[in-house]
């Protein structure tokens, strides 16, 4: 792998300022959707982005926010490529994202997608508010495609869980 040029490093830093529109405490790098940044010189900057879910409406907002942030920083020509393969997985969330999600009231994915334990039923999801493991799934789907709805039977609060996929 070729080391990032100073220009590419600058772009990576700018991308860290682009929030996910649905979970704005995470930036697009922490969300794990930025696949590459390439300085193509006279042809401008190319950024490869993977959609989290095939139909996620945030995908287009992310693409336009990336362009807007880079234009603002003086990059005139920016291209965002949609990268489908390999498919995005919740394993690509940055470690820092997990703590941020918890602070925000969303339980991070409970285990790796490749974990052999996945063969043995549901993982235990910890309440992001009181850390209790006494939680129940209310619904497999929630306010955005990437989350499920849970409730805590200790503190009785409902919360969202970032699905393993």
């Amino acid at each position: 792998m070729v080391a990032a040029s100073p220009v590419e490093q600058q772009v990576w830093q700018l991308l860290a300022e682009v929030p996910d529109p649905e979970i704005p405490i995470l930036n697009v790098i922490e969300l794990g959707v930025v696949r590459y940044v390439r300085d193509e010189h006279e042809r401008g900057i190319a950024v490869g982005v993977s959609p989290t879910y095939t139909g996620c409406p945030a995908t287009e907002v992310i693409q336009s926010s990336i362009k807007a942030r880079l234009h603002e920083a003086g990059f005139a020509t920016v291209r965002v490529d949609q990268v489908l393969a390999p498919p995005w997985t919740s394993d690509w969330l940055a470690d820092s994202a997990r703590d941020k999600l918890r602070e925000y009231g969303i339980a991070p994915p409970a285990e790796s997608v490749d974990s052999p334990r996945r063969l043995f039923g549901e993982p235990t999801v910890q309440c992001p508010r009181c850390s209790s493991r006494q939680t129940q799934r209310v619904s497999e789907f929630a306010s955005t495609p990437c989350k499920a709805l849970y409730r805590c039977t200790s503190c009785l609060e409902p919360f969202e869980y970032f699905k393993c996929i």
């Binding site: 959609p51 095939t54 619904s139 497999e140 789907f141 929630a142």
Partner: protein, 261 residues
């Protein structure tokens, strides 16, 4: 390049286009049906679930219809294909255009399609055409989740009350006749199979059957008898339900061509 490969070149874009519509239209029409539930489902959680599954299906359709529009050339787009085609040009499975009726019908239809999509996407990942292989690798992760949801509900309804059992069994009896089409290749599929672009749907039958039987047994439901094949949605021959669905879905673009947000 060999003579044979060179000869294939002008044929393949059209084969890919028709196969993209075959798979994509099934996702698109089911997405529209699921969207009809928004604001009407029995509970908020199920409203969200059906909308989210519909959104995933719409995502699959958008990738495939965008690809089909590219292959078609000119200035056509995914929107033209979704909003300006006539019913006979849609190549979806007849099953997905069947009306929602009630929550039981909707869940049975979803369950039968989810089990079929698992077989399809598992094999389509090996497609000789990268666009299909990439989409299948992405979509199968979502489909596994859909199947968990729909099979869970089938067990709850089938092995639930007398009323829920009766309704879901009658939905199964009504929809079973549309399943045979899932395993018989249409002309568009035959061409794509010959070029290594598509898997043969006949190869889905055994896996689909055992998956479906396992859940039906747990749900205390009876598998209906197979009926003679009489549905040809994948050939563009549709039930009247598709026309009504499209009348609603296409109304805005047909009435105000080129209208934008």
């Amino acid at each position: 390049m060999s003579a044979a490969a060179a000869k294939h070149q002008p044929v393949a874009p059209e084969v890919c286009r028709r196969y993209a519509l075959t798979v994509g239209d099934t996702s698109l029409i089911l997405a529209q049906r699921l969207g009809e539930w928004v604001g009407h489902a029995p509970a908020l959680e199920e409203d969200l679930a059906l909308a989210n599954i519909g959104l995933d299906m719409l995502g699959q359709a958008r990738h495939l219809l965008t690809y089909a529009a590219e292959l078609q050339g000119g200035d056509s787009s995914e929107d033209d294909l979704a909003f300006l085609r006539d019913p006979q040009d849609f190549l979806n499975l007849s099953l997905v255009e069947q009306p929602n009726v009630d929550f039981g019908h909707t869940l049975v239809r979803q369950f039968l399609v989810d089990a079929w999509q698992l077989e399809l996407f598992e094999r389509l990942q090996q497609s000789g055409e990268a666009k299909f292989a990439e989409l299948a690798a992405k979509a199968i992760k979502e489909t596994r989740y859909h199947f968990r949801f729909s099979s869970g509900w089938l067990v709850r309804l089938g092995d639930g009350t007398e009323e829920s059992h009766r309704r879901v069994q009658s939905a199964l009896d009504a929809l079973w006749r549309f399943t045979h089409e899932m395993f018989v290749a249409s002309p568009a599929e035959v061409d794509a199979i010959a070029l290594g672009i598509a898997p043969d749907p006949a190869s889905f039958a055994a896996g689909w059957s055992s998956r479906v039987d396992e859940v039906l047994q747990e749900a205390t439901l009876t598998r209906p008898a197979d009926v003679a094949y009489a549905w040809h949605g994948k050939r563009g021959q549709h039930s009247e339900h598709l026309s009504r669905l499209l009348a609603e879905m296409q109304f805005m673009q047909r009435t105000y061509p080129g209208a934008q947000w």
